[in-house]
């Protein structure tokens, strides 16, 4: 690979990183996870409602994610990020895949939370501990804020198992905990970003 090839690859990587640099994407994800958690928390209440109604609400909750990471995110970026560090659009068709790779913990934890909701609390806790351990070994240094996620989710797992919470609610509470952790990550990133890049003079 020549210098020119690596310069192009570096420019491409930096352009994609620019999308995540302000923490707004993570803040959007935090809202989504809290909403998803609230949906599962209130699911027993929704059971009294007609099925089409439940399906409509669930579809609405799922639709929030593309909405948050699409128009809402762009609206904020045009007001916060682009006036400060500029606008760039990548032409990478694999961008969505990269977004998913950016948060590998999300996919592992989804499986674990679902698993935990069907097991006695101590078994669920062990499953969570093992998963977090594997996640730590596999991804340490590969995703930012691992120091926040791993201890944060471990603590949430302990609390959810120790406190008198029903099996059904464990999944919901873990999703809310994930949302709160994302919120901390996003807010920290945004705070750092705003400190590094003060508002331009109009």
């Amino acid at each position: 690979m020549t210098a020119i090839d690596s310069a192009v690859a570096d420019a491409s990587r930096r352009a994609r990183d620019h999308w995540f640099s302000d923490g707004l994407f993570t803040l959007g994800q935090s809202v989504y996870f809290v909403l998803l958690g609230l949906y599962f928390h209130y699911f027993p209440v929704l059971l009294a409602w007609p099925q089409w109604c439940r399906a409509a609400i669930f579809s609405l909750v799922l639709a929030v994610n593309p909405f948050l990471s699409g128009p809402v995110l762009r609206w904020f970026k045009w007001r916060i990020t682009y006036p400060r560090t500029g606008y760039v659009a990548t032409e990478n068709a694999n961008f969505d895949r990269e977004v998913r790779q950016r948060h590998p913990e999300m996919w592992v934890l989804f499986a674990v939370f679902g698993f935990e909701g069907r097991l006695p609390s101590w078994v669920g806790l062990i499953a969570l501990a093992v998963s977090l351990g594997i996640l730590w070994i596999l991804t340490r240094g590969r995703f930012s804020f691992a120091w926040l996620f791993i201890p944060g989710l471990a603590l949430s797992g302990v609390l959810v198992s120790v406190l008198p919470i029903t099996k059904e609610n464990r999944f919901a509470y873990m999703l809310i905990a994930l949302g709160i952790l994302y919120f901390f990550e996003g807010a920290t990133q945004l705070f750092r970003y705003l400190r590094q890049h003060p508002a331009p003079q109009a």
Binding site: V8, R14, A15, W78, T90
Partner: protein, 106 residues
Amino acid sequence: MSTTLQELATLDRVIHEPARLMIMTVLYAVSEADFIYLQNECGLTQGNLSSHLARLEEEGYVLVVKTFKGKYPLTICSLAQKGRIAFEEYARVMRAAIQGPARGKL
């Protein structure tokens, strides 16, 4: 004179200038970028970037669209097809010069 050396002499001088090479590299890697992003990435002053963009635009390598987003002026730059081809040719010649048959014979 070897073919590779002869090819080096045909390098596109518009792209070969360091600041313009940086601009072209960034624009080649993205679909479009605005003036502020290019300025931050290339570390150029406003005037410098402006003049190099004008040179690239004049050559037909870069497309520049000036608009407004709210109260902020927005200058969106992207690589034209001609610019993309020219950059690829430039990179090919440079690669050939570095990885060419002369390598290892020094």
